[in-house]
């Protein structure tokens, strides 16, 4: 699991790739987001287009991330959901919780 962070204006885009599964994968997401929130970033986009595997802990980690960012008065957007992540979110009624985008431009404009 790897995350590269980009800055576009006052938005942080986290390009995630690999697996978000229990252990290493979920930890990388948690630590990266926590750091950004601690530095008082309010606008965060998680780009999941290159995440080829996620388990229930990974989905849980997306939820935790959402809570962390929101509790700090920020906004979290999900970008580039794969078909499988989309399905996992849909069947656990989480698509209604997250704001999701297919295009980076649209995600950026949404803040």
């Amino acid at each position: 699991m790897k995350i590269e962070t980009r800055t576009v204006g006052d938005v942080k885009i986290l390009d995630c790739s690999g697996r978000i599964t229990l252990g290493e994968g979920t930890m990388v997401v948690r630590n990266t987001v926590r750091e950004l929130v601690n530095a008082d970033n309010k606008k965060i986009i998680l780009n999941l287009a290159e995440v080829n595997y996620i388990d229930s802990s990974g989905i849980g980690e997306l939820v935790s991330t959402y809570t962390t960012v929101t509790n700090n008065g920020g906004q979290l957007k999900l970008l580039g959901l794969t078909r499988k992540i989309q399905e996992l979110l849909a069947i656990t009624k989480l698509l209604t919780v997250f704001q999701t985008y297919e295009e980076e431009r649209k995600a950026l404009e949404s803040f």
């Binding site: 599964t21 229990l22 595997y53 229930s56 802990s57 980690e61 939820v63 069947i91 656990t92 919780v97």
Partner: protein
């Protein structure tokens, strides 16, 4: 049991590193069986979820406790049994992750996913102790 079935039994110690071993074995079985890519993915994930539960919640990461995974490979289906040496649990007491009170909880979705993606899923507490999860997935007829 079918006389011409192939069986694979795996016994691992309760360390999360061994999830990768289970994953590669499951993937090689579903590949050998020519499951379509989606089904193979969901089977792999369901097995991973149940072995994660067996290691974490069942055996509580005690490396001296074993998780036994048994795959039965039949022409039209795969069945998988995951057993641990934990205290067992009552699946009907597990809260639904779809309840609005649970929607934003960071955990509690594993069993729900297993039930969604497998054709059959049973959670048993055998008399000898531990938890036994039985899962089954049929091959679709597409492209056969």
């Amino acid at each position: 049991m079918n006389n011409t079935a192939n069986e694979v039994e795996v016994s691992i110690c309760s360390a999360l590193d061994n999830l990768e071993l289970i994953q590669v074995l499951t993937d090689s079985l579903t590949c050998f069986m020519h499951f379509d890519e989606d089904s193979a993915h969901w089977i792999g994930m369901s097995v991973r979820e149940s072995v994660t539960n067996a290691i974490q919640h069942g055996n509580k990461l005690d490396v001296h406790k074993k998780v036994d995974v048994r795959f039965e490979v039949l022409p039209d289906r795969i069945s998988i049994t995951v057993k641990d040496q934990g205290a067992g649990f009552r699946v009907d007491e597990i809260p639904s992750p779809l309840d609005s009170a649970n929607l934003l909880k960071p955990s509690g979705r594993g069993i729900f996913y297993i039930r969604t993606f497998m054709d059959e899923a049973e959670f048993r507490c055998p008399s000898e102790g531990g938890t036994e999860v039985y899962m089954m997935k049929k091959k679709s007829n597409q492209g056969e």
